[in-house]
Symmetry: C2
Subunit: 343 residues, 2 copies
């Protein structure tokens, strides 16, 4: 007696199997798993035994389809997690969302915007509950997202004139302004800027912060290298010689990341340039190593952890109440300059 299979099945144990085993209806099994308090103790126990015995695993696709509900998945779209501080932010965000049962799906597009929009289609198909944009720089892409807006969207980074539902600003420009001001007030005159990852807006914002500070204090703004290379240790080491060659009078060098600055510090040691006496050096980001480096690096910290927490609660509030009325002590989100031995 051969059974005729008319259709592919997953071969999984289904709710029906469990129901038959436990001698109850499928609906009762469903309830026992989804809303246990609506099922009597006796049946609930029976069902639990059946579930364990058969090794039942619910089929999320079917559940989603039947309940027409969202997935408790929040997508984070970002061009790239550049550095340690962004990782802090993400980690903090994930932790807070996980507490409420949400899963974070991280998508790094590496700045291929076509990829981003392609992913977007895929994401919308996955019944996700919200989208979080982190330092997405392409305005067209943002507009495209908003055009198909189906779920709440939280933007972290530059504010696109209220295009997004919610926006948490990170002011890299301000942070760099503050840092540069500190350096200027220390009395340095010939202050250069070393910027890498030229192609990313966020680094141009840092550059801009330096520029504004220099202008504000009537200092010359021509001592700049703005390179299209990764902002890492090697690039720092590599570009210091160019800076010194172009502007031998340089007495302070502001770098757009801690990695660049550390590379510069290493190169200074190789060339027996005494920091900060001959050359002051600063970084950006307050990475783990900037406290330990020799000499310790003056840098500026963005409160990514707090921003993560803040953005998580903002998003959760929006998902729950469908209304954002959020008041926070935003001073907690302000940049902090860390003065150390290198200036």
């Amino acid at each position: 007696m051969q059974e005729i299979k008319k259709r592919k099945t997953t071969g999984q144990i289904t709710l029906f199997d469990v129901a038959r085993y436990a001698g109850v209806g499928t609906m009762t099994v469903s309830r026992a798993l989804r809303t246990p308090d609506r099922v009597s103790d006796k049946l609930r126990q029976k069902i639990q035994i059946a579930v364990d015995a058969l090794g039942y695993k619910p089929n999320v696709a079917a559940s989603l389809l039947a309940s027409a509900s969202a997935n408790r998945v929040i997508a984070v779209i970002t061009p790239k997690i550049y550095d340690h501080s962004a990782q802090l932010w993400l980690n903090s965000l994930q932790t807070h969302l996980a507490k409420e049962g949400y899963t974070t799906l991280l998508i790094e597009s590496y700045h291929y915007y076509k990829l981003e929009s392609q992913m977007l289609d895929a994401l919308y198909s996955h019944n996700l509950e919200a989208i979080l944009l982190f330092q997405v720089e392409d305005e067209n892409f943002i507009k495209q997202i908003l055009q198909n807006k189906i779920v709440p969207i939280l933007n972290i980074g530059k504010d696109y004139d209220g295009l997004t539902n919610m926006n948490v600003g990170i002011d890299d420009s301000l942070a760099m302004y503050m840092l540069t001001e500190h350096v200027i007030k220390k009395g340095y005159q010939h202050i250069g800027l070393l910027c890498a990852n030229q192609e990313y807006q966020i680094f141009q914002q840092r550059l801009h912060g330096w520029y504004k500070a220099m202008l504000a204090y009537h200092l010359p703004t021509h001592r700049v290298i703005n390179a299209a290379k990764p902002a890492n240790f090697s690039t720092g080491s590599e570009l210091l010689p160019d800076m010194l060659l172009n502007w031998p009078e340089l007495d302070a060098l502001i770098c757009t990341t801690d990695e660049l600055a550390c590379g510069v510090l290493y190169e200074c040691q190789r060339r027996h340039i005494r920091v900060p006496y001959q050359l002051a050096v600063t970084g950006f980001g307050d990475n783990e190593f900037s406290q330990v480096s020799f000499p310790a690096l003056t840098t500026v910290a963005l409160p990514y952890k707090e921003i993560g927490e803040y953005s998580a609660s903002l998003l959760l509030d929006n998902l729950k109440n469908k209304k954002v009325t959020h008041e926070t002590d935003l001073s907690a989100l302000a940049p902090v300059v860390r003065l150390r031995a290198s200036v």
Copy 2:
């Protein structure tokens, strides 16, 4: 005239809407999107217009359910992506899998095994196609996975006696043995080991490699600090004094990560200890900064990029052929010692 809604819907545009708009059957629309070559040009164009006009987004849950097919999603489970090299591995893996249309879902459990198994249930519910374990250390967890084995499982790291379908070994112990041997052959006698992240097996393997090499050359193995702290720059700086206090005769210090070693280098500078003349220092991992540091760091590189490529192709072959018959030049996967100025 009010319509009675008997059931919640997602409110999405459905295939049916598209079909009606285009004046064809739903099945034709499904085919036009899934297998376009099986639909005539004329209808395909009509349908495309309808899709664009209505902004149709397919519902993955329904598609999965109907086709009873897997999701083209591969889950990577790992306790933690420790360092840059592991990131290289992951990146390389993702790239290769993406080429074949697979999405990688990264799950970092941060060593909460309960979390890992909880996630596993969730994952199995998501119709994923394969599971990739990266440096998962908990044997119970591995056994539990294998017990419910539904999809192919590839293990990267320690081989659990053929428990997994496929295993790609990374021999941290061998790598450390090779590095230690180099240091010994340079003539150093009083060689210490600095290990952090004590609680993770992978670091204990590195420690073990050092131990074996020291024994093989009849050198004493007591100069060890094995700390339960993060293996970062700070810890390196912090623990060097302890090493020197305990064993002032120390002439070489082998660290289990590049970060530790760099922290040690910084502390040496602070204490005017000349590297390598008074103390030789080595790292592990060949991170980006180890080439630029001052002095440049002798270290050992694991070929994570190649391992990523190899593991991707192994997995893909398994998914396609359902049979693993893989031959590779495994010498490409051997560790490489990078001799630099610090030894």
